[in-house]
Every structure is written in C-alpha cells, then in structure tokens.
C-alpha cells in the first residue's frame, strides 16, 4: 500500500473545516473564496428546510422544530441556529431552548448562538451564565449583527443595575455602528434620562427624533408628560390617541416616570399605586429606576 497524499491545508479546510485547536473562522476552508463558496453551498442546501420550518412555525406545527434543526445541522450557520432556537423557544418553552443552546455552544459554538443563549439565560434570571455567554461569544468571533451590545444592555436591565445601564447608554450613545434595536434602546434610555434629569428641551428633541423614524410609544409617553407640563391640550390628545394601544402596565410605568419628571408628585403616586396592583414587579423596577436618580421627588 502506497502513501496516501496529504491534502493541503486549504483543501482540507475547504472540505473538513478548521482542524483541532484552530480558532473558529466560519465553516469551510482557510481561503476567503473557498470558505464563502462552501458556506453558500451549505446554506443553499439548508434553505428549503429553513423555509419549511418557518412556515410550519407560523401555524404552530410541531414539525417546525426538527425542520429548523435540520437547516442548522446542514448549514451550521449561526443565524440559522438562532432561528432554530427561537422556534424551539416558541414550541417548547425557554427551558428547552436554553438547554439546546447550551448543548450547541459546547458542540458548535457560534457568536449568534452565544448571544441568544445569553438572552435566554438573562430571561431566566441566570445573569452570571448570561455574562459568561457574552464573554464566550466575544472570544468565538465577530458580532456583525450587534447582538452582544443588546445582551449587555439586557443583562444590565435584568440586574436592575441602573448606574451600569446609564454608563452603557452613555458609551453606546457615541457609537454609530449599532444595530437598529440596540440604538433605539439607547436612544429611548437617553430620552428618559433627559426627562428624569429635567432637561426637557433635549428630551423633546429626542422624542421627536425617535418619532420621525417610526411610531414609538415610550417617546409618545414622554411627549405626553411634556404636553401636560406645558398644558398643550392638542398635543395631549394626539399623544393619548397614539398610545391608546400601549398595555396598561407599560402606560402606568411611563406615566409614573413622566409625572415624576415634570414634578406632578400626586399623579406619580397614583400611577405607582395602580402599577403595584397590576404588576408589582414592574412597580418595583420603576421605584428602582427612580432610586438610581436619587429617589422620588416626594421622598
């Protein structure tokens, strides 16, 4: 038996992916063209399963989960993996999705899966685990979709660490490469910080900016508070119309913050009381936000 020729690194990489101990740099070869072609072929092959799985998911059919899993297994694309986890989350709940995400992070770690696993862990209250996924994800690779910033903000939210949230908002506020969801969150935070800091002109400008892009009920609630302060009935009416669809607890939350910002202590107290009845956890969060600003005005 003769010696078998050893495939070059590029050929081996094209067909087999990175070897043991190599840093993950996407499936396929070490060359950009080879990697892209290989990835594109795998993605193409998995697309029918992805679409079928998504369609089945619209009708809540259980077959959606295995189809999405298959799409992920063929493509090993992080975005497909995240879609599969989301399908599992909808069909079988957060625990199943979290367990699956943990398993996939061990077998085929991807930045997209790390961010989604972190979001699930944060949602479940396991903030240390969420932070560890965030750190792991940053080690694995780049995050062009900007999900790590979202995870970082989410962790700060769930930790009720409003000082950290303010720091994050300030540092992210200067960046211009954020994903739309993250940037919107940062701008909304900035809006309410301006409200609570009583920088009303800045708050009004931020609310109008957010509304210029798309409908935004937190911005409308801020404008409503400012309209009440300015006694502008036309604007009050418009804001009330636009926020009519906002869930009652969210409305009460923003009403509490807005009333407090404009110094309407009685209104704030009343809103907080109603919020406590409706959603005590959210009421606690509202109080914590205010505490981070030095406590309620009436205190």
């Amino acid at each position: 038996m003769g010696l078998r020729p050893r495939p070059s690194a590029a050929v081996r990489g094209f067909f087999l992916g990175p070897g043991e101990g190599e840093k993950y740099n996407g499936p396929g070869s070490d060359s950009v063209l080879g990697r892209t072609m290989f990835r594109a072929l795998r993605k193409l092959a998995s697309l029918p399963f992805l679409w079928a799985g998504q369609l089945a998911g619209v009708f809540h059919l259980p077959v959606s989960v295995p189809l999405l899993d298959l799409a992920w297994a063929i493509s090993r694309d992080g975005n497909f993996g995240r879609t599969a986890l989301m399908g599992l989350y909808r069909q079988e709940g957060p625990e199943a999705a979290q367990a699956q995400a943990a398993a996939w992070m061990d077998q085929h770690p991807r930045p997209e899966i790390a961010s989604w696993a972190g979001m699930l862990a944060a949602g479940a209250g396991d903030l240390d685990q969420a932070r560890s996924y965030l750190a792991r994800g940053r080690e694995i690779g780049d995050d062009p979709a900007g999900m790590f910033e979202l995870l970082e903000l989410t962790i700060a939210f769930h930790r009720d660490d409003y000082q950290r949230l303010r720091q994050l908002t300030a540092s992210l506020g200067a960046r211009r490469d954020l994903a739309p969801s993250v940037r919107k969150l940062v701008l909304e935070q900035g809006l309410w910080q301006a409200m609570l800091d009583r920088q009303f002109d800045q708050a009004r400008a931020r609310a109008q900016y957010l509304l210029e892009v798309e409908d935004n009920q937190p911005a409308d609630m801020a404008l409503l508070a400012l309209a009440r302060r300015d006694r502008d009935p036309a604007l009050i009416r418009r804001c009330l119309e636009r926020t009519a669809a906002l869930p009652a607890r969210d409305k009460l939350y923003f009403q509490f913050l807005g009333s407090l910002a404009i110094g309407a202590a009685d209104d704030a107290r009343r809103s907080l009381a109603e919020l406590r009845e409706l959603d005590p956890a959210m009421a606690r969060r509202a109080e914590q936000v205010i505490t981070s600003y030095g406590g309620p005005a009436w205190a």
Binding site: L33, A145, R176, P180, E212, E214
Partner: protein, 429 residues
C-alpha cells in the same frame, strides 16, 4: 431552462457589476451620512461575494431577474433620518446610472470596431455588445428599483418626501409586495416599462459601426435587386469606408460596378475579395470572366486553372501556394551577392557544391541526364567573376561546362534543379 441559463449567462456580468455597485453605494452613502452599521457588516466593499444573495442569484434561472443582499440601514444612526435615508436609498439607482454613463463612454471607444484592423475587430465587437448588455441591465436595475413597491428603493423614497409618513412605512407588509412584484414581472405587466426604458436607452446608446455597416449592406443589396446599380455602388462604397475588409461589400460593389460597365473597378474589388477568400473558386471564376472581358487572356487562364483546381481539391491549391512560397525563398537566395568567384578548371561538382555552401541552397543534380548531354561531375569549369549574384555565378558554371547551348536549371519545390525539367528556359523562375 436552456434559454433561462443562456439568459442568466448573458445577464451575469451586468448583474454582478450592477448589484455589487448598487449595494456598495447604499452602504457607502449610509456610512458617509453617519450610519456605520453596514460597514460593520462588511458591506462597504466592492467584493461581489459580500453583496450577492445565493437565492437572488439562483432566481435568475427561474425569474426574469435576480437580486442582491439588502444593505441593513439603521435610521437611528442618521442625523436627519428622513433626508439621509432618502439620499441612501437614491444612492443605489444613482450608482447604476453611473455604470450606464461609464458604459456609454467606453462604447464611444469601441463603436469603431473596424478602425483598428481585422485582428481587433472581434474583440471590439464583443466588448461593445458586452458594454451594451451591462448598460441595459444597469439602467433596468436603476429604473425598476425606483418603482414605489417594497422592498424596492422607490418605496423608501416616497415616505421620505411625503409629510406625515415615516421611513419605516410598509416594512411589515414587505412580503406581500415581493409576491406582487414577482407576479407583475412574471405576467409581463411591467413589460411596457421595461420595453420603454430599453428602447429609450438604445436610442441614446452609441451605435456600433457594425450596425451601420449592416444597414448600408442591406441598402446596397436592395438597390442592386431593384436595378439601381449606382445607388448600390454608393451604399457599398460607404460601407467599405467603414470596413475595407468586408468581403460581402467588396463583392457587392464589384457586382454593381460590373453592371455599370466599370470592369476595371469590378476587377479591383474582386481581386481584394480574393485576398480575403483565397480558396473560393467562384471569386476566381468571376475574376477570370472579368479578365476575359478585358482581353487579359493569360491572367484569365491562370484564374480558370486555379478555380478548376479549387473545385477539385482545395488542398492541392494550398500545396501549390506552399510550393510557391518555398520557391520565392530560393529565388531570394539566388540574389545573394558574391564579391569574387575564381574557378579555373575545377570539377563541375565542386562548383555546384560552392553554390550550395555560399547560398545555403538545395541544389538537386540529375547526373544521368547530364551524362546524356556529355556533361559529368569531373567536367572542368572556369569562371573569374567579381561582384556577381549567385544566379550569375551558377549560369557561368553551367555555361562553362558545355560549349554552345548552356545547361538549363529550374526552380521547383524549393530547390534548384539541374537540368531544368521539361527542357524549359534557362530558368523557370
């Protein structure tokens, strides 16, 4: 499917350039206006692989169009969301129109496809039609993208212009519009738009000389058929001014000139046509007829013979041509100058060897035939010459070898043959 594949292959360069520049322009303009989200995703790049969508490229085989990966634009990163989004949306179609302009400029250079000789002609023609295809694809990309149907760029432009509407208008219903767009394209409802655009662009596009030539040639042929020979000659002359190597135009003008009685003009055109199509017996016959009409019998006979030969075996003509080329080489060597030739009673074989050596000539001697003339290898020759050619030296040697009538030599098959076959003149050069 075959047609679709061919269509895809023809569309591919234009689409590749068009889609890449279109998406790059969106990403680049967004970045210039403050949104670096597309840059973060690697989209501010002219690498087509970053912009092509696998599905959009495959769609080319099924649908009459394809698409690239949409550039993610984060409106919250803009300073003036509506205005900046409007500019970013317009940048894609503007990039396609830039490509169209560039193609037009390059087509001005490639339109004169016959100006730089027959070798450059096919490249210029292919280049011209390639540029035309790229321009048409890009103009269609620009125009179709300006339709106000999501997810096309046009749908992003008008919410930015109409007060009260938001740039994010219609995002949620995008799939409905995609299906609508596919239906419109597949059922041919947009054909009017497409046809109008293509006809408009073709009207302004720099036309290739080949199109003008085709037109003039058709005009000349029609005039000839109608018996308007002077008009036919004018059309073919105009066509030949563009492309002097057009065999069809040369023969067309020759036919017109022949009808008009201009036999010398016709002969000139047919001779040029023969240079282009050397193995065509009909052109030879035509020229033979013209020679006869002009009372140039010898030349007519030569062409009739060649035509006969070409009718029988075109390969024989090629061999004859090759032999002629070889003989021309021998004749050139016979012209080589010799400063001094001194032979005094030297054997004829030595003298001929001298000719072989100095001129590197292949000299074939039939000693048996010479012996019949009482000339042998040892026959002494004498020649004292200065500043002569090899031909003159050879004639002197052969003249010295026999008193009275000199021995004749001939040139055939790339060789000097002694004595000349068939007892022809001293040289059958």
């Amino acid at each position: 499917m075959g047609m679709r594949l061919l269509q895809a292959v023809l569309f591919l360069p234009g689409l590749l350039i068009g889609l890449t520049l279109h998406e790059f322009a969106h990403a680049w303009s967004a970045s210039l206006l403050g949104d670096d989200f597309a840059r973060r995703q690697g989209r501010v790049s002219l690498n087509p692989l970053r912009h092509l969508s696998a599905l959009g490229t495959l769609a080319l085989l099924v649908l009459p169009f394809g698409w690239g990966k949409p550039v993610p634009v984060n409106l919250y990163n803009f300073r003036r969301p509506k205005w900046d989004y409007l500019l970013t949306s317009l940048a894609g179609p503007a990039a396609n129109l830039f490509v169209v302009g560039l193609c037009f400029l390059l087509m001005l250079a490639t339109r004169h496809c016959y100006r730089y000789g027959p070798l450059a002609e096919p490249f210029l023609l292919v280049g011209h039609y390639g540029l035309m295809m790229v321009a048409l694809i890009n103009v269609l990309l620009a125009v179709l993208n300006l339709l106000p149907i999501p997810p096309l760029d046009g749908s992003k432009i008008w919410p930015c212009l109409i007060p009260g509407l938001k740039p994010s208008f219609g995002r949620r219903t995008v799939w409905v519009f995609i299906i609508l767009l596919i239906v419109l394209l597949q059922t041919g409802r947009l054909d009017t738009v497409v046809r109008t655009v293509i006809e408009g662009v073709l009207h302004w596009m720099p036309a290739s000389d080949s199109e003008a030539l085709d037109h003039l040639r058709a005009q000349g042929t029609k005039a000839h058929e109608d018996g308007e020979y002077a008009e036919a000659e004018r059309s073919f002359t105009a066509a030949l001014a563009m492309n002097p190597w057009s065999g069809e135009c040369l023969s067309g003008r020759a036919a017109a000139r022949e009808k008009l009685g201009n036999l010398n003009g016709a002969l000139e055109d047919v001779s040029r046509a023969i240079e282009l199509r050397r193995f065509d017996p009909e052109y030879r016959e035509w020229r033979a007829g013209l020679y006869e009409a002009l009372n140039r019998k010898d030349e007519a006979v030569g062409d009739w013979e060649l035509a006969e030969l070409l009718h029988g075996d075109p390969g024989a003509f090629a061999a004859l041509e090759a032999g002629r080329r070889a003989n021309r080489g021998v004749l050139d060597k016979l012209k080589v100058a010799l400063p001094k030739v001194e032979f005094s009673g030297a054997p004829l074989s030595d003298a001929l060897q001298f000719v072989r050596d100095v001129a590197e000539l292949d000299v074939e001697v039939d000693w048996e035939a010479l012996a019949a003339e009482k000339v042998y290898r040892e026959t002494p020759v004498t020649a004292n010459l200065r500043d002569v050619t090899v031909r003159e030296a050879l004639k002197a040697f052969l003249g010295s070898a026999r008193e009275g009538e000199p021995i004749r030599y001939g040139v055939a098959d790339g060789k000097v043959i002694i004595p000349a076959p068939g007892g022809g003149p001293p040289s059958a050069e």
